[in-house]
């Protein structure tokens, strides 16, 4: 990174550069490029669980930390949880809660998409690994969500396969 003072570079900038800066005042300008969704999703999967889950208002991480079912997971990543043969159900629920909270609170549309993908991935893992729905979503809503997630080109293939599996289970149950 160079040390040029950007507050002074303004004086050498033309209208296009100034317009781009002035546009930052607008709420609806995207923070990330559409091509960066894959990197964001990868980052989400690799993010440590305890960092993100500590922001969930209803989660009692202190209790989860002591529960035998969750021990060994909290210092791992979302990827470790989602792709584990026996993922902690409690942590899946808190992760889903985190995703829902992020989806609702985020202003950035791309972060909302990442949160939605994580939300459906947690649901899917609950169904595939535990045969349980981890929330109160209807089959119709879930089917729509799973279809949406499977259609995202930026979601990794192993996670997509899990979601597709859950979608299949949903079909069979109906």
């Amino acid at each position: 990174m160079n040390d040029r003072d950007t507050t002074q570079t303004i004086f050498m900038s033309g209208p296009a550069g100034l317009a781009r800066i002035l546009d930052q005042n607008q709420k609806d300008t995207a923070l990330w490029g559409p091509d960066e969704m894959r990197a964001m999703w990868r980052h989400q999967l690799r993010a440590p669980l305890d960092a993100d889950l500590s922001t969930v208002q209803s989660a009692n991480l202190a209790v989860l930390r002591l529960a035998p079912e969750t021990s060994g997971f909290l210092d791992k990543s979302f990827e470790n949880l989602l792709h584990n043969a026996k993922p902690s159900l409690s942590l899946l629920k808190v992760s889903k809660q985190f995703a829902k909270q992020t989806y609702r609170d985020a202003e950035d549309p791309q972060l909302k998409e990442i949160a939605a993908a994580l939300y459906y991935a947690c649901y899917a893992v609950g169904m595939v690994a535990h045969g349980q729905r981890i929330g109160g979503m209807s089959s119709r809503e879930l089917a729509g969500g799973f279809d949406w997630a499977v259609g995202r080109i930026w979601i990794d293939e192993p996670t997509k396969r899990l979601i597709a599996q859950a979608r299949e289970l949903l079909k069979q149950s109906s």
Binding site: T6, T9, P15, R20, L22, H43, P48
Partner: protein
């Protein structure tokens, strides 16, 4: 060039909320002169480009304008927010001042049968369509953004959020101003040790919010109230839009996750 500019930009840090008004600061004449003389000088240069024989007197004109108008008791009271934009008042006042000065000098010369500019054409010529106004608005905008960014940078340093300034700088400012490629998401995450997309997004979004807040605060030094500040931003955006070829942007978000 403008040694007091640094001092003038160090006004009290504005916390969270947008200030209702900072109009009183406009009556700090020294501050006005300090902050806007570059724009005035640019504008004056444009005005005098039509009168080459007077270009050499640009500094005198500006000095006289500042002394006789800006520093003159009562003049700033004309800067009534209900009567239009402060920026426009400065422009029209300088334009009128220069017209008057040239007229006086031309009259004196004519008395000596030595007129360089026909007096009856003078008014029309100087008050005609005004592309030179762009130089004023451009200089104004540059100062405005520079002050905004300076305040944002200081605000980040004071609140120990230097990473927010740095992220905003590398991801938004440098690409916009210097035309360099914006560092991709992964690079930013690695460089600033951002642990999750939420953290990365919050940092960049906070930077954007801080920028918007400081921009409004800086404009509120010369425009009163939220509505006038928004109008000023819109006016500056339109001004830049006028200088740029039209472009279209669109964003797509497939919102099929309604049940979430």
């Amino acid at each position: 060039m403008n040694p007091e500019r640094q001092a003038s930009s160090a006004s009290p840090e504005l916390s969270g909320e947008f200030p209702v008004t900072a109009w009183l600061e406009v009556t700090d004449r020294k501050k006005v002169v300090n902050q806007y003389w570059v724009a005035l000088k640019a504008y004056l240069g444009g005005l005098l480009s039509r009168f080459p024989e007077y270009r050499i007197e640009a500094d005198d004109f500006l000095q006289d304008f500042i002394k006789d108008k800006i520093l003159h008791p009562g003049w700033l009271e004309k800067a009534d927010p209900n009567k239009g934009r402060f920026r426009d008042l400065l422009k029209s006042s300088l334009r009128n001042f220069v017209t008057g000065e040239i007229r006086k000098r031309e009259a004196a010369k004519r008395g000596g049968n030595n007129s360089l500019v026909p007096l009856d054409e003078l008014e029309q010529e100087i008050a005609g369509p005004e592309p030179v106004s762009d130089s004023f608005d451009m200089a104004w905008l540059q100062m405005l953004l520079s002050e905004t960014l300076e305040k944002m940078k200081q605000g980040c340093a004071i609140s120990e959020n230097n990473h927010i300034w740095k992220i905003f700088e590398v991801r938004v400012l440098r690409p916009a101003l210097e035309g360099v490629e914006a560092p991709p998401y992964e690079e930013l995450v690695a460089q600033f040790n951002l642990r999750s997309p939420a953290q990365a997004t919050n940092a960049l979004a906070t930077g954007k919010r801080m920028f918007a807040r400081h921009l409004r605060a800086v404009i509120a030094q010369y425009e009163t109230g939220d509505k006038a500040v928004r109008a000023e931003i819109e006016s500056l955006r339109l001004f830049l839009g006028k200088l740029l070829p039209a472009t279209g942007t669109n964003s797509e978000f497939d919102k099929s996750s309604k049940g979430l």
